[in-house]
């Protein structure tokens, strides 16, 4: 790239010109910002404004552009100059929309604008147009693991979009659970009767698609690489192994049925006539729409009781704490098997809460019309009595002990995800080996003995062989904010491995995952990041001379993007990286940086602010706001005209995980009176777009108290908040409360040093 030339454009539109002294801003850009080219414009985002900038880039050789106008989240199309380094000073949402238009406020508002411009000028000096990722992969094929409804649907959808598919199925035939169903819950109007499971049609579609290559009786014995360049070993039962390259992976490994032998109180194992839903499907297939016969003596079933939530939604040991979602509809469907063959069969469904997702409510009504009896109760015991079964239950409407007798009892047991090895205990073991804390050790010891589970993907990542689990063994992915995304870039999950679900939801899920995997390979080829910084070309690099090989970055990277080379230096896997900067925040010696985001780009912004002295009564509060939720919330607060203190200086960060503690200590040393950090929700119900960033930031900030004490500063000078994108009212209130608190504590004594 040729010589660096920075241009600053100050917009006077949207009222900025009326509220602020833009001449002064221009002067600051010239003198303090040291920018050679400064222009003002009345309407920068219109065609004339944009072409002014374009002409300067093309004609004047401008390489660095600062746009002092609206928020960086606004007008991204107009200001999308991707051939220069770009910085934005947020004068509109960040200043004039959150400040009152009064004479008294004019001075502090102008100071705010001056500082925001200084910050943007400081940042741009340290930004470089990102280099191309030299290690980008080019493979666009997609591997689908699992040949059930979810896997087949994902394969068909991606294939129809023109991508080559490898479909790997463990067993000898496609279809998974759905192939074992007599019929399925209806998926279309009038939602009144069970319909054909449709598996044979799906299998035909898979065979019809030329792009799909099916591997039966096979499993994945090794997975390495990154988006665009995965290498997988597919091993057949016969022992033959082929190595294939793919661009992304969809894990559709489905679920296993809960073992009903753990429910002796419900009679399973005591009588062959107590069965689970899967076994009833077999009986129904045998009966082929005729009368269903009970297993013990082949007698035609005249009465049947369905026990819902068997071993589910319960805190008892050995039970599943969650609801499997499909079982109510499934029992309704199965009760119809009996009623449709013979309306005189007594069918009773004993439920706690009848949950019928989708259009199940219509299906439920249809069953009631057919005469299926629904009883709200808690089953207590099932025992054989005189060749029949007695179901004792507590009737929850009549608050009474009751009993029902039946020829057959069907237990609605739950789904257990096939999510492979839980890598968390393994990681904990490592901490222990490294002379870890005793608390971790105690926890490992009290952990229940785990039955060895076969790995699904056999990843060669240092972080473990399978995808991380979240709760109850389901693969981690935030099911509202970013479904399908896992903590391993380029690998997506769908179907019941992600959360319990039925066929209809699974098919929708599989389609979503197919789209995500297509997006992943397309981004990977261009060397761009996947969600949530989709399209970002930057990637982390480190200064080898400064690195102390502490391994903190490799351990803390939420996405397993950093390995170690032979000399134990970090080895960045650019294509796996999501560009959150968690490694940058973790690095104690600050050697990790991105071309367009580094310790300097933020650190220099913090330092560039004009610090009034102690007696001016003008405190300065630094806000490091996560760009995913907190910063949009601030923007939206501005759009609603909510006001907040003029003493704050806001710096957006990629994730709180990227916040290096040096920024906070530097800020306090240079005279800031307080530092607010705003990140996403952490913990089990995390909303952090980079999984662990917010949590790590909380942890790191808890350690900063010592530093504050050494500096003899109050701990309240650094506060960290969990903010959601919907906290539009709350965020300005938080700022104002904090500003009042700082007023109370008083000024930072380090001002002017």
């Amino acid at each position: 790239m040729s010589e660096k030339k920075t241009a600053v454009y100050v917009c006077r539109g949207c009222g900025i010109g009326n509220r602020l002294d833009t001449d002064q801003l221009a002067k600051i850009a010239e003198s303090e910002g040291k920018c050679s080219l400064v222009r003002q414009h009345d309407f920068l985002c219109n065609a004339d404004g944009v072409s002014t900038i374009r002409n300067d880039i093309d004609g004047e050789g401008v390489t660095h552009v600062v746009i002092a106008a609206c928020s960086r989240r606004a007008k991204t199309d107009a200001f999308g100059f991707d051939d220069v380094a770009l910085g934005r000073a947020n004068l509109r949402e960040g200043i004039i929309w959150v400040r009152p238009d009064t004479e008294e406020a004019r001075e502090t508002t102008q100071e705010m604008a001056d500082d925001f411009l200084r910050m943007a000028c400081a940042e741009i000096q340290y930004i470089k147009q990102p280099d191309t990722n030299q290690n980008a992969g080019t493979n666009k094929n997609i591997l689908v693991v699992g040949g059930g409804v979810s896997g087949m649907t994902a394969a068909i959808e991606a294939s129809k979009a023109g991508y080559g598919i490898l479909l790997v199925e463990k067993t000898g035939q496609l279809g998974g659970w759905a192939a074992k169903l007599h019929k399925r819950v209806p998926d279309r109007e009038p939602f009144a009767d069970p319909v054909d499971a449709g598996v044979s049609d799906l299998v035909k579609s898979v065979e019809y698609e030329k792009n799909i290559n099916v591997f039966l009786n096979s499993s994945i014995t090794r997975t390495s690489g990154a988006p665009g360049q995965f290498s997988v070993d597919i091993s057949a039962e016969s022992g033959e192994t082929v190595t294939e390259n793919v661009g992304s992976i969809i894990q559709a490994s489905g679920f296993s049925g809960y073992d009903a032998n753990q429910l002796p109180e419900l009679g399973y194992g005591k009588s062959p006539d107590v069965i689970d839903q899967a076994e009833l499907e077999q009986l129904a297939i045998q009966a082929a729409d005729g009368p269903i016969k009970r297993p013990s003596d082949g007698k035609e079933v005249e009465s049947v009781v369905f026990v819902q939530c068997a071993g589910q939604r319960s805190d008892e040991p050995g039970h599943l704490p969650y609801c499997s979602g499909h079982c109510c509809n499934t029992s309704i469907k199965q009760a119809m098997y009996f009623k449709d063959a013979n309306p005189n069969v007594d069918t009773v469904v004993i439920f706690d809460d009848l949950r019928t997702p989708g259009n199940g409510e219509d299906f439920y009504r249809s069953a009631q019309r057919k005469g299926v009896i629904f009883t709200k109760g808690k089953p207590q015991q099932v025992s054989p009595v005189d060749g029949q079964l007695e179901v004792k239950f507590h009737d929850m409407i009549l608050n009474d002990e009751a009993a029902a007798t039946a020829d057959l009892v069907v237990l609605a047991t739950g789904q257990i995800p096939n999510s492979g090895v839980d890598i968390e205990p393994a990681a904990m073991q490592e901490v222990e080996d490294g002379g870890g804390e005793s608390a971790a050790q105690a926890e490992t010891e009290t952990r229940e003995v785990q039955i060895p589970v076969e790995s699904i993907l056999n990843l060669t990542y240092r972080q473990g062989v399978d995808l991380p689990h979240l709760r109850h063994g389901f693969s981690d992915s935030h099911f509202i904010c970013f479904p399908y995304e896992t903590q391993r870039s380029g690998i997506y999950t769908c179907g019941p491995v992600r959360r319990p679900m039925d066929i209809a939801q699974t098919m929708e899920d599989a389609t979503g995952a197919a789209l995500k995997s297509i997006q992943a390979v397309e981004n990977a080829v261009l060397g761009r990041a996947a969600h949530p910084r989709s399209g970002d070309l930057s990637f982390p690099s480190f200064r080898r001379e400064g690195c102390t090989q502490c391994k903190r970055c490799t351990v803390e990277c939420p996405f397993g993007a950093i390995d170690e080379d032979e000399q134990r230096y970090p080895l960045f896997n650019e294509s796996r990286c999501r560009r959150c900067g968690t490694c940058m925040g973790a690095c104690p010696v600050r050697v990790i940086s991105f071309d367009n985001y580094s310790v300097d780009t933020v650190g220099q912004q913090i330092k560039s602010v004009n610090m009034p002295d102690e007696f001016d009564e003008k405190p300065r509060i630094l806000i490091l706001a996560c760009e995913n939720d907190a910063y949009p919330a601030l923007d939206m607060a501005a759009q609603q005209g909510l006001e907040y203190s003029a003493f704050v200086r806001i710096v957006p960060v990629r994730c709180l995980g990227s916040v290096n503690t040096i920024w906070v200590t530097d800020a306090l040393n240079s005279g800031y009176d307080g530092v607010m950090l705003m990140g996403c929700k952490k913990g089990d119900d995390y909303q952090c777009h980079f999984v662990k960033g917010s949590e790590l930031a909380h942890y790191r900030m808890s350690k900063i108290d010592d530093t504050l004490q050494q500096l003899q500063l109050e701990p309240e000078r650094v506060e960290i908040y969990e903010v959601e994108i919907t906290d539009i009212q709350r965020v300005p209130a938080l700022i104002n409360e904090y500003a009042a608190k700082i007023d109370e504590i008083g000024m930072n004594p380090f001002k002017g040093f």
């Binding site: 009631q368 409407i397 009549l398």
Partner: protein, 207 residues
Amino acid sequence: MSDVNTAMVQKYRNDFLKEVEENVEEGHWVKMCMQCGVCSGSCPFGPHWDHPPQEIFMMIRAGKRDEVLTTESMWMCTSCYNCIVRCPRELPITHIMHGLANYAHRLGIAPKMNPTRRFAGIFWNNIAKTGRVNELALSLKLYFMDGFMSGIKKGLAMMSVGIGMIKTKRLNPFALISHKGVKNPKELHVLLKKAREIEDRRKGIAS
């Protein structure tokens, strides 16, 4: 126990739900209840019922025949229609309650001393006699339902209302001797008898 009742017990054995479906007005709706409890929560008399509608439906499904038919609960219904308006499954709950009460009455096992039931009987006999309500006779019969002394007491308590009604010609003090019914009450009696026969035949009850 009446003969009709015994016959019904024998006919339906343990399947009380089927009995209700086939004999109670709107009884075929009972199976559609989804036990949400909105009816019980909406009923202005809810707390005073032994078994609110939701429970009654559950008891019918559980085959609790005697408890349902002998309870005073459905006699408490004042036909305010709150439950019908609110039922998410659109059950005609008010009608079912009246249907159940009527069925219990016809089987002869409804609570004998239930005031609603007794008033309903008095009202029916009164209106069926001439085709028009004889309000004076109805009030007297109602007041003296529980005996002479209590009738006098009730009469005295309502005296001012009564005099007011006479003054404004809302009540004919000579109605006991001069009540005008429909033109030909005999024809009405034939009509009502026929209607009862048809209904009994439909419901399979020999009259």
